[in-house]
Amino acid sequence: MTLITTTASRPQRKRIPDRHLWLLLALVGLALLSCLSLRLGLRPIGWNEIWASFVAYSPETANHIVIQQMRLPRLLAAWLGGAALATSGMLIQGLTRNPLADPGLLGINAGAALGVILCIFLLGISDPAAFVWVAMAGGLVSTILVFLLGGGQRGSNLRLILAGAALSALFLALGRSLLLVSQRSLDVYRFWVLGGLDGIEMQTIFALLPIFGFGAALALISAFHLNAMILGEDTARGLGLRTAGTRTLAVAAILCLCAATVSMAGPIAFVGLVVPHMARRFSGADMRWCTLFSALLGAGLLMLADLVGRLPFFGGNMQAGVMVALIGGPAFVWLLRRNERGLR
């Protein structure tokens, strides 16, 4: 008996410390980045004052307001949004077994964008705070449409993303044709569509928190099922998986996470596509670990992008949605090249 258990645990003992070490490093890195994110910006603020803004907040001190009303919400939004987008990317790539799949493929972003455009165009609203709920509604409607067009429970994963691509294209075209005829809509929309974390209010974050939480719980359950799903639908069903149920669960998780993010920060591309690939290099092939690492790296990347975009060098307000690709692109190419050399 003792002999069996020692041989049985050997193959894992080799890998798990690795993963745990990376996990620790990621958490330390995120903590450091979070501190820097509060401290740096157009106007650096000292550690003492940051601390004071938490324990003895005074609405008369300008720096306290900057920390509590601006930098803290941005920090939280980066944590939530980055983690949500990257997790969704991991789920959609695992579900469709397509490394180029992006959560945007389910039509969430296109639906949210159309919602926002309609809101500006028809109702004349240009207050970003009002966009939260129309973007959410747009994302919800389009994802449900995509799911139904993709055959619902009985569809296939391929049909799902094809329906998503078709509907996204349709919604984007509709939106653009509205923008063509309305200069004012375009002015408001072009800031929203870049995606960014400025101007997010604490209230919005708290309102969206339950949706993020629900999505995260669904994502963790899906990750276990996707471990079988990535071997192909036949193999997965042979292993006793209800593939239709798994598909519904994963789409629901992605819907919650992405709709909450897009309504908070606009459509931020790239994180969902690329971070899962980065995460896999640290986590190995187990989807549960992949999901955890995706969430952490996604949060880190978005936080970094937001932080760098706020530095004086970039004029103090480069949208995080733009910055994330400027930073993440080269980082990804470097990772790929390093990995290629490692293989040779």
Partner: protein, 276 residues
């Protein structure tokens, strides 16, 4: 409706022995977009034996195997596993008794052999109850029985075709089922690796009495490794029984349209087809 050839005396003698067999197809029909693939098939997969399904391309061999593993939507009839309709049972429960290896399965990049074999434990786990000592033992045993232990930490894409196929079989073994279905497990393997793989399957069957049903293209290999054969033609069972009952000159002509002589394999004494 069974084909006339099934009523030959040698075949009906086989029927009574398999009355309460664990896996059985009853009046099974499958159609894709109205076109019938399988029509009204009734057959048993004898317990503890190696059954090989043969037939020309597009005769429905794979569809039959997939139907037996509840991967196929049926248009009529049913598949019984342990006496109950397989589609009415919990899929996870079925997966604890019956494993299937689909034809040329694919794995994502970066998966190690150990990762893959561990996935075979899926039906014994749930999102809440995950890795147990029992799982570790089953994975270790599956790796050992397929001689994949030394390669456990290797990436799947770094393996040869034969090793990769052994890794997939190890995954199905880790599932610890009494019944194992294999869909053309020798595809893309050269002859020595085909023999190696089929010998492995045979030893699994002989050592632990695991019931095996598989689809094979090569009649001679089928005849050599099977205890029981099923020959399909155009979606119907044309002949079934022991290899020497199925691999006959007339059956080969009828099923494959192949003119041939049958000799007895000088080494294994199984029927051997010599095409004319």
């Amino acid at each position: 409706m069974t084909h006339p050839a099934c009523q030959s005396p040698g075949l009906s003698a086989h029927q009574p022995a398999s009355r309460d067999v664990r896996l059985r197809a009853q009046a099974l029909s499958v159609a894709y977009a109205q076109a019938p693939i399988l029509s009204d098939l009734t057959l048993d997969i004898p317990d503890g034996e190696i059954t090989v399904i043969v037939g020309p391309n597009a005769c429905g061999k794979s569809t039959l195997l997939r139907s037996l593993a509840r991967l196929q939507r049926l248009s009529a009839g049913q598949v019984l596993l342990d006496g109950k309709n397989i589609h009415h049972q919990r899929s996870r429960g079925v997966a604890q008794r019956l494993a299937i290896l689909p034809q040329s399965p694919t794995a994502p990049e970066g998966l190690t052999v150990h990762d893959l074999v561990s996935r075979g434990r899926t039906p014994h786990q749930s999102a809440l109850k995950q890795w147990s000592r029992q799982d570790a033992r089953a994975v270790e045993q599956a790796l050992e029985r397929t001689s994949m232990g030394p390669l456990a930490q290797r990436n799947l894409e770094a393996l040869s075709g034969g090793q990769r196929q052994r890794a997939w079989i190890a995954m199905a073994l880790a599932q610890e089922t009494d019944i194992l279905l294999l869909d053309e497990p020798t595809t893309y393997l050269d002859l020595p690796h085909q023999i190696e793989l089929l010998t492995l399957v045979q030893s699994l069957n002989q050592d632990s009495g695991q019931t095996v049903a598989m689809v094979l293209h090569d009649i001679n290999l089928a005849a050599r490794f099977a205890n029981h054969m099923i020959a399909l033609r155009a979606g119907e069972v044309f002949a079934k029984g022991r290899p020497e009952q199925v691999v006959t000159r007339e059956n080969m002509a009828q099923v494959f349209g192949l003119k041939c002589q049958i000799i007895s394999d000088p080494v294994h004494a199984t029927p051997h087809v010599i095409p004319e």
